[in-house]
Amino acid sequence: MPHPTDAPTRYTATAMALHWLLALALVGIFAVGLYMTSLPFSPARLKLYNWHKWAGVTILALSALRLLWRITHRAPALPAAVQAAMPRWQQIAHHGTHHLLYLLFFAVPLIGWAYSSAAGFPIVFLGLVPLPDFVPVNPDLAELIKPWHEISAYALAALVVLHVAAALKHHFIDRDGLLARMLPGRG
């Protein structure tokens, strides 16, 4: 019977909920981002741009909660057997990918927010709550920031693909039970 003070062997329900909710949100917002930039100047595009910004700010806030939860609730360590079977490079990739994902969870929306502000389009959440501009309105600054939102979003997408591929590899090839730690039900 696991003792409460034992190191955790699976993720908490909160961590799981945040993980899957944000996973869905990130896939969705990426798709909207790709689609909306393909549209001509139109009310439809204006609507999608604003929804994209509201979703981005929401994801930023949820990511902050997620990080706070992670800091205060230890994530399960790799089981000894799994770690022993993992080459050193893979362990580095395992930790590195997670750290980079967390970094980009914040960088991507913050860069987007900065770009929107610099371009003279402050974010008004749900069309009701004005959010602050933490960079000044400056067309030259906006041009400078603009490409980085897309670049960092693509980097995040690439890491997500890597993360999903690795999780599936652990589940179907290594059969080491790692994926089950992030799924509700028996560990």
């Binding site: 100047f41 139109s42 009310p43 204006l46 609507k47 604003n50 371009a119 003279g120 389009f121 402050p122 974010i123 008004v124 749900l126 069309g127 009701l128 004005p130 067309p139």
Partner: protein, 184 residues
Amino acid sequence: MKFATTFAGLMLAATAALAQQALVPAQSEIAFVSKQMGVPVEGRFKKFDAQVAFDPAKLATSKVAFTVDMGSASLSKEADAELVKPVWFNTPKFPQAKFQSTAIKALGGGKYEVAGKLDIKGNAQDVVVPVTLTQSGANTVATGAFTIKRLAFKIGENEWTDTSMVADDVQIKLKLALTGVPKL
């Protein structure tokens, strides 16, 4: 002879009172704020002129007019390219917007109400522009703001008539620096 010179003298004196009232474009500004899904987006017109014959002691005969080069609108690089199109300003057909005052009322303390006709895109509407005049040295600065309903001027047609996307209310902000205005 005497009558002619006196008359000429009086005419000179009259025109001298309203001598060369002119706009100082470098110290003036005409801006507009539109709300897109709740987001206030501000733009300005880079080219405009004002024709002013304003005497605080003779409001009944005073006149204020300004013309705006609609093609000089500056909002964002992309918006500027769109604003000239027929659904928005249609600048090829209506290159200028015009305001012509019909009555000026003093409210005291340097505050005035300028009633007049605003003509944009071939559509005219009566507006009242509240302004505050402040004078320092030879300069008089008139600042004021008023709201127009863009749909009344057919600004934003077809799919853009949806006011949940771009609000009907557009705020116009004026700062007109003038020389030659008599002391208030």
